[in-house]
Amino acid sequence: MDMIKLTIDNREVEVPKGTTILKAAQTIGINIPTLCHFELEGLGVHNKPGSCRICVVEVAGRRNLAPACITEVMPDMVVKTNSMRVINARRTVLELMLSDHPNDCLQCAKNGRCELQKLAIRFGIRQNPYVGGEQSNYQIEVSPSIIRDMNKCVMCRRCETMCNEMQTVGALSAIERGFPAVVSTAFNQHLEDSPCSFCGQCVAVCPVGALTEVDHTPKILRAIMDEKKKTVVQVAPAVRVALGEEFGMKPGTIVTGKMVTALKMLGFDYVFDTDWSADLTIMEEGTELIGRLTKFLNGDKDVKLPILTSCCPAWVNFFEHHFPEMKELPSTAKSPQQMFGAIAKSYFAEKIGISREDMISVSVMPCLAKKYECSRDEFKVNGNPDVDYSISTRELASMIKQANIDLATLPESEFDSPLGESTGAAVIFGTTGGVIEAAVRTAYEVITKKSLPKIDFEELRGLEGIRSATIDVDGLKLNIGIAHGLKNARKLLEDIKAGKCNFHAIEIMACPGGCIDGAGQPLHHGNSDIIKARWEAIYRADKEMPIRKSHENPSIQAIYKEYLGEPCGHKSHELLHTHYFDRQTVVEVGSDK
C-alpha cells in the first residue's frame, strides 16, 4: 500500500494514500470537529457532502481553507487544525448556523445528545453576532412515528443519504433553493402520503432535533397510574443488549434481568417478553414455509416462493409501496409485536378475566416503524389496538431515569409467566440473519423429525449486506437469502422479479445490522463498534438460554394445546396472520406549493 507522510499540527504522520485529513489526524489523536460528516464503518453507510465547513483546516500553500472530511492527504502536506484563521472560520460557520436555529434547547428532544449543541459547548459560544436576521418558519409535522421540525435542520443531508442511498426509499430530498431550501418530501406531502417506510434511519442519524420520534411515555405513565387499567408490557430482543448504554454501561452489556426489575418498579402489572411471541412467529412462519416447500416439492408450480419474512414493519411498508405486485410472497405471519398484542388482548385478557378495553398493551422496541405498525387499522378490534403504545429503547431509558431508578445497580428478575418464557432462537431475532436461523432450527427438526446435530448456523451470520447459504436439511437443499438495509432488500427483490433467484426463503430487515441498529436504539453517533458489540451480545444471549429452539418452548407448546390448536390452523389464522396492501405512492391531485 502506498503510504503518505505529512505533518499535522507540527507532528509527522504516515497514512495510506487516499486517507482524508480528518482520518489521518484521528490516527494521532487529533479530533477535528465535524457536523455533516457521518459514517458507519463496516455497514456501508457514508455521508460526505463536505458542506457544513465545520471541519476546515489550513493547508500550507493552499489559498482557501480545506474541508478535512473530504480532502485527501498529499505527500509533505503541512496541515494546521487549530490556527487562528481556522478557529475563527469554524466559529463563524457555527454562529451562522445558530443564527437560524431555535434557542429552545431546554425543551428539545435532543437536549444533551445534539451534535450542534456539543459543538457550541466545545467552541465556547457565549453570544452570537448574527442575531435578528430572517428565521425559518416551517410547520412541525407529526406522523405516527416521526416528528419533523425543519426549523432545526442544519442541512447536513444525512437523512437524505439514509433515505435514498442506504434505504432507496426515496421519501426525502432537498427542495427549493437559497434560504427556503429544506429537506422535505415530494410536493411537501405528509410523510404518511409519501413512500416513507418509517424505518427511522433518518432519525437515527440526525445530528440535531429536526427529526425525532413521537414520545408516548406520558400516556404510558398515566395508564400505569390508572387503577382501572391493567398494563402489560413486552420487550423486544434487541432492547436488552442496548438499554445499558443509556446508563453508562459498556455497549454489548446484556441487561435483561435488570430491565425486567426496572419495568416492575415502574409499575407495569405484567412484564412479558416479545421473545415469547418471536417463538410463536417461528411456529407460524416455519409452518407456512414447510407448507409452501412441500407443495413445491410435490410439483405445484403456483406456489409462492421464495417466502419472505414479515417481522420487520419498515420492510412491510417498503414492499407495499415499491413492490406491491409481490405482496403474495411474504409470510402472512404477523410480526412478533403484533402477535403478542393479539394474544395479550385475547388469550391473556380472558385468563385474567378483564376486557381488552381495560388492558393497556405496551411494547418496548428498538424501532420507530413499530409505532406506525401498531396504529394500522388491521391490528385493531373495534377500534381498540392490540398494541396501544410502542416506545423506543430511548423512551424506556427516559422513563426509568424519570422514576429515579439506576438500572446499573438493580438486582435481576425474571419475566412473568406465561408470556415471558422464551428461547435462544427468539433472542437472535434482534439481528440480521437471526429470524431465518431460528426458522431453520425449527424447520429442520420438524421436517426431518431428527435432532439438530449443531444448533449454531454460522453460515447465516455476519454483517455483509446480502448473504446466502445452502442448508442441508437431511438431503433437502434449502437455499436461504438474507438482506439487511432496504437497498439490499431491493436488489434481492429485483432479482426475484427477473427470475434470477433460486432461494426458498429470504429474511429481510430494514435497518443496517437488523434491529440492533434500529432507529429506536440509543444513538451510536456513527460508532459502528457499538453495533458490533450489540451483535455479539445477541449471540451470547442465545448461548446462555437453556432452550434454543422455538418449538421446544413449553409455554408455546401449552398455548397451542389449550387455545390455538395447531400452527396455521383456524384460530391462528384469525389471530396471528395478516394481509398486505398495495400502497404505491399516489399523488394528491392538484397538490403543489
Binding site: A186, D193, R583
Partner: protein, 162 residues
C-alpha cells in the same frame, strides 16, 4: 388504509412524456433535460407528470420535485392564456422594474409564479429580453411593452380582459 388515487393524466400526455424519457434513454442523469422538454410540451410540470417521470427514470418523486423546485425556470402551475413576464434585468431594475412587477401583482391579484383562478393571466419575472433601451420592459404573451410606468399597468391588463 390509504386509498389509491388514480392519477388523471391524459393518455396522449402520458405517451408523450414516456417518449421524451425514452429519447433520453430513461437516464436519471438527464432529468433536467427531460423536465425541460416536458415543460416545453405541457407548459408546466404538474405533480402527475413528475410522478411519471420519476417512474420512467427509476428515481424518486422527491428527487424530481427537488429539481423542479430548485430551478425557477420550472413551474408547477399552468401558464395563463396571457403569460405576463416582467424583466428584472439590471437595466430594467434600475429604472424601476420592481414597481412594475408590484403593479402587476396588485392588478392581477397573483404573485410571481402564480396563475389567476380564471386561467387568464400568469405572472413571472425574467432576466433581460435584450430591449434594455426600452427599460423597464414587460411582455404579455409575445408582445413587448416598453418605457413602462406603474400607472400604465391597469390599461394594459384591461386590453386583455376585454
Amino acid at each position: 388504509m390509504q386509498q389509491k388515487i388514480i392519477v388523471p393524466i391524459k393518455k396522449e400526455v402520458r405517451d408523450k412524456i414516456i417518449e421524451i424519457c425514452n429519447k433520453f434513454n430513461n437516464n436519471p442523469g438527464e432529468l433536467i433535460n427531460v423536465l425541460h422538454e416536458t415543460q416545453g410540451f405541457l407548459g408546466y410540470l404538474p405533480a402527475e407528470a413528475q410522478e411519471l417521470i420519476a417512474e420512467q427514470l427509476h428515481t424518486s418523486t422527491a428527487t424530481v420535485y427537488g429539481v423542479v423546485s430548485f430551478y425557477s425556470f420550472f413551474t408547477m402551475n399552468p401558464k395563463g392564456k396571457h403569460p405576463v413576464s416582467v424583466c428584472l434585468g439590471t437595466a430594467c431594475y434600475v429604472r424601476g422594474a420592481e414597481k412594475i412587477l408590484e403593479s402587476f401583482e396588485k392588478e392581477l391579484g397573483i404573485m410571481p409564479g402564480q396563475t389567476d383562478k380564471d386561467g387568464l393571466f400568469s405572472l413571472t419575472s425574467l432576466r433581460c429580453v435584450g430591449a434594455c433601451g426600452l427599460a423597464p420592459v414587460a411582455l404579455v404573451g409575445d408582445k413587448v411593452y416598453g418605457r413602462l410606468a406603474p400607472a400604465d399597468i391597469k390599461g394594459i391588463v384591461k386590453e386583455y380582459r376585454a
